[in-house]
């Protein structure tokens, strides 16, 4: 019942989120044939002051168009779209989970129902998580089809693997936002706190020497490009003994924040 209520509350936002993701994906794919020659000619991307921008330039301007196209998708579909839209989506959908109930004075009513707080958290969380994660897979699956329209190929397995990583990152942000939503009384405060943390992380990412300390380092071109190129097997995403296992770390972080949210909710007094 709580899950149904949550879904009714977020369904239009979830649809808007799906549409925005798709609208961002389609032009970057369809315009590729026009953009690729420009990227090959560009010297700006090849000689920047920052190494990571140079790697992007080398990738998208590669003489092998298949390599260049996958690099292009890594940067535009994943580094840009999912990082930007999924973070915003997780914050927008997550802020209201509990803080909105407090603002509307419905939280006391909900907590007084004969249902455990763990169940309340779970039934609010899973529809939101599904609403955030499923569009990532749908839009990236559609990118495979759009790519075929311009006679390019995006490999299914690699694209889904990259989508899996993007989904883990989105779940991490959702879990963080859920925790803050339990702690804060006002929805705007939740958005302000999580938004500030995200902006700080972006700032750190864009600062050369401290860049490795940014969360966005786990979801940038250096991670998505090898994933889409097929150079990172599934095991490297999840097994710390085989590779960096960034996907596992993101899921572990998400679990930690959900646990913190559950503990905070158990202690919450309306």
């Amino acid at each position: 019942m709580i899950a149904g209520k949550t879904w009714r509350e977020i369904r239009w936002m979830a649809l808007a989120y799906l549409v925005v993701l798709e609208l961002l994906a389609v032009p970057v794919i369809l315009l590729w044939p026009d953009i690729y020659p420009d990227l090959q000619r560009s010297t700006l991307l090849r000689n920047p002051g920052m190494d990571w921008v140079k790697r992007i330039g080398d990738g998208v301007g590669n003489r092998d168009e298949d390599v260049a196209y996958r690099a292009w998708c890594a940067i535009m579909l994943f580094f840009r779209s999912t990082n930007l839209v999924c973070t915003a989506g997780a914050v927008l959908l997550g802020t209201g989970l509990f803080a909105r109930e407090r603002e509307a004075q419905t939280l006391e009513f909900l907590l007084a129902r004969p249902v455990s707080r763990g169940r309340i958290l779970w039934q609010k969380t899973w529809p939101t998580a599904v609403a955030l994660v499923v569009p990532i897979f749908l839009v990236n699956a559609s990118a495979i089809w759009w790519s075929s329209r311009i006679e390019m190929e995006l490999p299914f397995a690699e694209t889904m693997r990259a989508s899996m990583h993007a989904a883990a990152f989105t779940l991490f942000f959702l879990a963080t936002t859920t925790w803050v939503s339990v702690k804060c009384r006002v929805q705007a405060h939740v958005a302000a706190w999580v938004g500030a943390a995200a902006v700080l992380q972006i700032g750190v990412y864009l600062t050369q020497r401290i860049r490795p300390y940014s969360l966005f380092r786990l979801v940038d071109f250096d991670w998505y490009a090898p994933l889409l190129a097929g150079n990172l097997p599934l095991r490297h995403m999840f097994d710390p003994t085989a590779g960096p296992a960034f996907t596992s770390w993101l899921l572990l972080g998400a679990s930690a924040f959900w646990f913190a949210a559950w503990r905070a909710l158990r202690r919450l007094e309306p």
Binding site: M1, K5, R8, E9, E101, A104, Q105, T106, L107, E108, F109, L111, A112, R113, P114, V115, S116, R267, E269, P270
Partner: protein, 301 residues
Amino acid sequence: MSEAPAVALRGLTKAYGDRTVLRGIDLQVARGEVLGLVGPNGAGKSTLLRTLVGLVARSGGDVSVLGMDPAPNSLEVRHRTSYLPGETGVYLQMTGAQFLAFALGFHRRIDAARRDALLAGFELPLHARVRSYSAGMKQKLALVATLAPDVDLYLLDEPDRALDASVRLFLRDALVALRAAGKTIVLSSHHLAELETLADRLEFLHDGSLIAAQRLADARARLRRWTRVRLRAGAALPPSTHVERRERDGTLVVETEGDPLVWIRSLPADTFDAVECGTSRLEDLYRVLLYADRDDRGGAP
């Protein structure tokens, strides 16, 4: 073995940081009893009710609800109780019917006949969105959601909030029917006259403490000697009369020694238009208790 009381509190204390909201409350409510909680805003009535349903963790003392401690057994307590919060929040985006289906869906047993009777009496437009409801309609909806579950104990924080007089009477009848069905009710209200007719027993809560039974008995005894007199124009009472206060409509409340009827008979026949004596009102008792409390602290009434 006798059944545990519906509610048993011993030394219940609740503090938020330095602010103590409940101070050593001792209270017992028998099964099938209707207890009215009376007190000014901020006295601790809502916190007391929240503690009973396990929404608020106590700072000290013992709490037993239907024989269970609500701290470790909060879920089972909530299965066997139904609680109406004071700040009633209802989901504005739902229709009335959707809200009821949602709210009642959590409970093990619903008394369908009671639910239908409440809905008929409250005349709610169930297919309209709750956001279009007035404050009174929202309260009625929350009341149906609270009273329809078939549970042992009903905890109602100001159930008559935002309701007009006729609806309050209907609600009182519904609560009387609940009492007749052997259900236990603990409720708070600021409509003291109606509460007095409904409750088997009243407890006065002030500044986080229950007013002691002896002090309550003293106040009641004092009130019994009060007489309310509406004087005719130009008439005056004997100078020795102790006038307790003058009400808004000009009625004087007089404290008399001994039988008030004797005092009334001693007045000249054309002195008053109306006179009332022998019955103390809960409002008077409430005022006396609060005044006495302020006097104790040395403040002005």
